[in-house]
Symmetry: C2
Subunit: 493 residues, 2 copies
């Protein structure tokens, strides 16, 4: 894997001086085309051994191109706000909007490599982590991103020489730390680990480019040319379409039995019982939020359901029970301009709560496989890949001590009609009903298929869906509170 | 100030039960009107003595209204990301977009009150701090916000009783801490300090409402009614227009002398000198960014200037000298949708750098008093108040150890014409010239007036403008680097 990068690649100064002006001009040109088209972002990862000119390369790219459209991120220690969210949150928040570039010096590869080299994790754990990286990059690419990964390589001897040379020059001495020498002593370990990482994460859509770093001129021009070619190719060609099976995705509907229709919508709770149960579970919920262990968890609640099924009412029964300062509600409507310039899930990542807090999503990332699927707001391939991406997203929340509770609220068609009519005549409910609601109603069967697929494909052990029979509002609300209490009790005990 | 809030105001349960449903419905109605109109945000501050039912009131508002459009912020310790920015950054990032409400339990009043009560600052320092609060609120209101401030009051006896009662109930005992009793021991001090605060920050546009907190029913309904009336009045009436003098703001132009015309644009540096000076100052700049003290400061650079004056080139000579990872460049174009839903300066606040970092603004908040003024993109009153708001903004950056360096680049009309023509014929510069540039050129005299006003009104001792004669690019670039080095040296020594 590193053989070709130990051959002593170099170019002389004259060649460099001849090559660079044309390269620069072409890069600038491509960069402006990118900015004008605003059709995809460019994500560049610069990784490799210590002293291999990573920051010099990053600086050269900034110098050659217009730095106003490049975001350069030297990833160091995570801040406390970052530590309270899933590991990838800090990268999500730095993703470049379409039309711009981000260069990451330090990336999602840093953790697995450093942990494995230090022996704090085994191969299995590293591979698991790389598998997640792979899925993350796949998502970026499916969302249209151009992802370029450069590995700066030096042979053992070359690295030693480089560190010595940096140390010898008073101007660069500060750059060599005791840590660098400690890492150098582990050269072979790093080499083995890195090889495994590169092997497992070099994919057709995001291969690693291993660059020999002995000669800075060779290194910079090589990186510049690869970037240029990839940019030009991508700007000239059509955006890649994610691979996907042709739909239908659903099982053939042979017997008219499905999970929604199997619900018993006649379940109800009479008023006196409801009042008693409401007080009981709201009290229990309130106590749970004051449990000591609660401060270590973040709670993510998802409310989905057919229109008028009572999402708002369900949410209020929860917020009534908890301190408003612990809770942020995110109604999901059409994405904003800034959100449209990012991968689909970005708008939800940005709203993940800190520890000890609730985030309640009134409609959520499931819009992708519901309304966007049914209405054709995205390509078939996009909603088909969304199931996997959503499961990955929720898994990451859960791994960082998040508690994900998802409710699907359902009512019959007849009950929906009754509620729509009521909303139209009640003054303070009139904003809750729009023409769109009536249009959606006509697509009931298409939605039913989408809902069943969603439940089948995203109800996981760690983040199961709770189906809430809401024909009787009292019954639905108590089921929501009860479920939430149980899930919190399980997590906190 | 507190007399009327010690009279034992109370309402009985029957009245409460009768009042609340209608109040709720009206509040919901007003809230939806607000969400539909999206014309202004509502900012509610809930402050007052310990145990005075602040969080109960906040929760009631959330319960009565649709919590999806309310952001509730219990402000506790600042995070490390917040500590590295000006004090007000954490509030700016939580400002509600138009059409929504934010409730702050803990606010910009917390610091001055706590510090003064603890004796860590004197009256003068507190008053200074309150003066800044006053200017901040004035800005919010001029931007259209409805700002409501509630002070929850309890007499000494009532507070004691309340704390005792909370302590006596096993369900609420956790809410009373040793800190509460310590504060109670300082009741008189807090009362004095609070009175001063309320007095100095009760303005016609954002008065304090002092609410007696002895009876929670009275307290909640009173707050709800005030909110309702204010909301309804604001929704019914026209948006308030900031007060301002009728323009012109500029001094009469009696003698055709102005600061721009007095510049000597013939200054130039020949190529060999330029190369030597470039190396010298870039080297010095690089060393400065590695100075130990640099890590304690954030650097904010502003580049403004006539079109084609060389802002991009000036910025590149800086970024070439520093590690790209320390630097983020923010080109200022038309604001995004999310930015338009916030006060004008919000988009710049959100991009303030952490300690040890540069933020370079390629065009900036000065757009308000330049292009927006000249083109009529905002009301006269808006750009006229901007000078003061900008000075406040920069002052806050500087007080939190920021270094603000502002460059105005200028060239002659003839030189601009030459550069425009060159841009049109050079392939990789073609994106740098648009029809708008040609249109702006026709408004040269109007811009000249706006620029002179800007320089006069915003060149402050801590954040002076540096005028950069850029007719000769070499001269301009060296002047920029030299100035930046000098400013950094002053700050770091």
């Amino acid at each position: 894997m590193f053989e070709s990068a130990e051959l002593g690649h170099a170019i002389d100064k004259a060649t460099y001086d001849r090559e660079v002006p044309a390269l620069r001009e072409a890069l600038l040109d491509a960069q402006y085309d990118l900015a004008q088209a605003r059709s995809f972002p460019v994500i560049i990862i610069v990784a490799g051994v210590d002293g291999a000119g990573k920051s010099a390369t990053v600086n050269a790219l900034n110098e050659w191109m217009d730095p106003r459209f490049i975001h350069t991120h030297g990833m160091s220690e995570a801040s406390d706000e970052e530590l309270e969210r899933p590991h990838m949150w800090r990268f999500w928040r730095l993703l470049p909007p379409k039309g711009t570039m981000a260069i990451f010096d330090g990336s999602w590869y840093t953790w697995p490599i450093m942990e494995r080299a230090a022996g704090r994790i085994k191969d299995a754990r590293m591979d698991q982590s790389l598998e997640r990286v792979h899925r993350f990059e796949k998502m970026l690419i499916d969302e249209g991103a151009l992802v370029l990964k450069f590995w700066m390589h030096l042979s053992r001897d070359a690295q030693k020489k480089r560190l010595r040379k940096l140390e010898g020059d008073p101007l660069t001495r500060w750059r060599v730390t005791a840590r660098d020498w400690r890492h150098f002593a582990m050269y072979e370990t790093f080499r083995e680990v890195s090889e495994r990482v590169l092997r497992r994460t070099s994919t057709a859509e995001a291969p690693w480019f291993v660059i020999e770093a002995q000669d800075p001129r060779y290194q910079k021009v090589t990186v510049g040319k690869i970037l240029l070619e990839q940019l030009k190719a991508r700007l000239a060609g059509p955006a890649p379409v994610p691979e996907a099976l042709a739909s239908p995705l659903s099982l053939p509907n042979l017997d008219a039995v499905n999970i929604l229709r199997s619900l018993d919508l006649t379940q109800a709770i009479a008023k006196p019982d409801y009042d008693r149960l409401l007080e009981k579970y709201q009290g229990r919920l309130n106590l749970l939020t004051r449990h000591k262990a609660f401060r270590d968890h973040n709670v993510v609640l998802v409310f989905e359901g057919v229109d008028a099924a009572g999402k708002g009412g369900g949410i209020r029964r929860i917020t009534q029970a908890i301190d408003a300062r612990l809770c942020e509600i995110h109604p999901t409507a059409a994405p904003s301009e800034e959100e449209r310039a990012q991968p689909y899930l970005w708008r939800f990542w940005r709203n993940l709560p800190r520890r000890g807090r609730f985030a309640i999503f009134d409609r959520s990332w499931y819009g992708r496989v519901l309304v966007e699927r049914v209405e054709g707001f995205c390509r078939e391939a996009d909603w088909m890949r969304a199931y996997g991406e959503i499961n990955d997203f929720e898994e990451q929340i859960i791994r960082s001590k998040g508690i994900v509770v998802k409710f699907w609220l359902t009512i019959s068609e007849a009950e929906q009609l009754r509620r729509f009519q009521e909303r139209q005549t009640t003054r303070f409910k009139r904003f809750k009903i729009t023409d769109e609601d009536w249009r959606n109603r006509e697509k009931w069967p298409a939605y039913e298929t989408a809902i069943c697929d969603m439940l089948d494909r995203t109800s996981t052990e760690a983040a199961p869906w709770t189906l809430v029979e809401s024909e009787d509002k009292n019954f639905g609300r108590i089921k929501i509170l009860k479920t939430l209490c149980r899930r919190l009790e399980e997590a906190l005990s």
